[in-house]
Symmetry: C2
Subunit: 394 residues, 2 copies
Amino acid sequence: MLDFTFHNQTDIRFGRGHIDNELYDVLHQYGTNVLLVYGGHSLKQTGLYDRVLGLLKDLNVTELPGIEPNPKISSIREGQKLAKDHQIDVILAVGGGSVIDAAKVIASAAYYKGDPWDLVISPAKRQDLAQLPVVDILTLAATGSEMNFGSVISDPTIPQKKGTQGPNSPAVSFLDPTLTYTVPTRQTAAGASDIFSHLCEQYFDTAENNDVSKSMIEGLMRTVIKWAPIAVKEPENYDARANLMWAATMALNGIVGLGTVNHWTVHPLEHELSAQYDITHGIGLAILTPRWMKFALNEESKPLFARFARAVWDQYGYDDMELAENSIRRTHDWLKSLNSEMTLPDVGITDDSKFADMAKAAVAGGSLDTNAYVPVTEQDAIQIYRDSMHDFAE
Amino acid sequence: MLDFTFHNQTDIRFGRGHIDNELYDVLHQYGTNVLLVYGGHSLKQTGLYDRVLGLLKDLNVTELPGIEPNPKISSIREGQKLAKDHQIDVILAVGGGSVIDAAKVIASAAYYKGDPWDLVISPAKRQDLAQLPVVDILTLAATGSEMNFGSVISDPTIPQKKGTQGPNSPAVSFLDPTLTYTVPTRQTAAGASDIFSHLCEQYFDTAENNDVSKSMIEGLMRTVIKWAPIAVKEPENYDARANLMWAATMALNGIVGLGTVNHWTVHPLEHELSAQYDITHGIGLAILTPRWMKFALNEESKPLFARFARAVWDQYGYDDMELAENSIRRTHDWLKSLNSEMTLPDVGITDDSKFADMAKAAVAGGSLDTNAYVPVTEQDAIQIYRDSMHDFAE
């Protein structure tokens, strides 16, 4: 187990009974000027927008709507200006990971004189800046942004999609599973795929003998595998929504990655896909994950894939390679049972003309050729993209 | 899954590389007057006492040595006086759970005018008090006190042993597994038994459909089952010590108990044993746990014991009662492989004259007859104590 530090101050309020009773007091402790950050009209359709505004009473609310999936630097610039112009005391983010990601970077940009893209490409600059407190109401179980320090911001004009870490995780996160009852099937599945990918990225790691992290990850994987199909079939099943929501947070609040090397592979490969084609992140991950697993399985990685088969997929037997291959097939089949789009053409990517550039950017950005669990060269990355053009072949 | 809140601000510094570089700065941020709380001479024998004092340099150090296992209210009173007399800014606790438990209550008592036993029997009084920051250097993997709000304090004159919760968990905890290399076999085993018991208490719970917590607990149980025997046989195996140490923290920092009812049974039963006979807490738990399991297995609890058998003990089969019984036998045999004392006479308790009083206090103190996973009457508790007088019978 490697040395680590852990310090996470996010105050979690989980369940049905918190928002109405606690939101006002939570915000008011920071001041009276609130920047309300949210996405599109779904918030108004579900009634959550009116409910939240009703709870804010006498607080001065400035609105920043229109945060899109794969949040754009233009939204951050707009938020920076609003935060300064209105002397914002606290940001209230209502939405999924994109909205919370944006809120966290705006919280830093409020104290920054220059263009906020600097803070995305040079996260070190954020560490010395103050950061506005972010309070969030989560509406999608997926990214874990509600209890971590990270954000992923895109500039579609370049196009680039980059991760950045701030000094603080959200101050207070309200996690009410009933708010995800209205999440459409496709987004529920994409969210579950995202959670599962976060767990895979941390599980397939070169650090040895870290059973605390590995065994908790196995437990979270089993939880997502069990409850995601139920949430897809029964959108208002509270326990399914609750297990997915809390698993999403636990999958990426930092805890299950402690003491590991924690270099990721599939996310850098996917970020190029959604930077170039603006596809849904979780669906990109669902497409790439089984192809990456097939690439990554070799004599050296076989024991860990076999452990994955036994502990997560209930596979029994003595032939580790057979178990490992079974685990990949089971992973693919589970992802396919959730997601109807499981190839790149399914999401509208029908030619391979950009694969070389994407592979180059992914390998460089993620140091995949040197640091990944199984090193990925540009040629390997191109092959993983190409394998994703057609149905999964075992 | 039940509603919950979670907020834990402890800053964890895990591994070999932190204490020498960071201890001084961590303490100095709070001020210059340090109360150094520790136990007995083992700290001086191992050289840790000199090492720590050397790191404190120009800080003003007041010492409170002699914190015993099952820490006594007399130590808290002494610490309260020292903290006031020396205008202490921060408490540095160096030791195991007992030392950290004592430090946390002294941290509250420093702001209390009355006798600190009030704070033990009425923890609500601590919530309105300030609390000195506690920094600790952990030397035993067991109680989880390094990342939680609880303390257990005894008054041997009554005799009583009571749990109390403060408003804050430790500010900073240094967890260096190499500091546990010198822990004797008996204490290593007792610590592992304590960790396992914490996990059992949270696992055997009436809250349903909380797979995030249950599956992480299963993973932590597997980790402890794997690494405790290695730590016992190879005291300087870093990975064994590291997995045990971090599992101990994760087992009782609150996370794996979220969303559950979280009423405990074996700890209240054991607290009466160590209150009356001052035995080692972890050994008392090792003795009681299999007897409690045998008591708790019935038609209603059978499915959870069977799940425990499959997920934790790798038992396969279709007969849930057989699986459940196997899991209890496996639990007993594993505890016995670690602990040489597995009956009450082994720890010097040879007559049953106090059992009725202990059972009465345990049932009342833990609300065992109404709130436990399987309700325990006074008669049941007496029977569990009696079953602990002789070798475990399946």
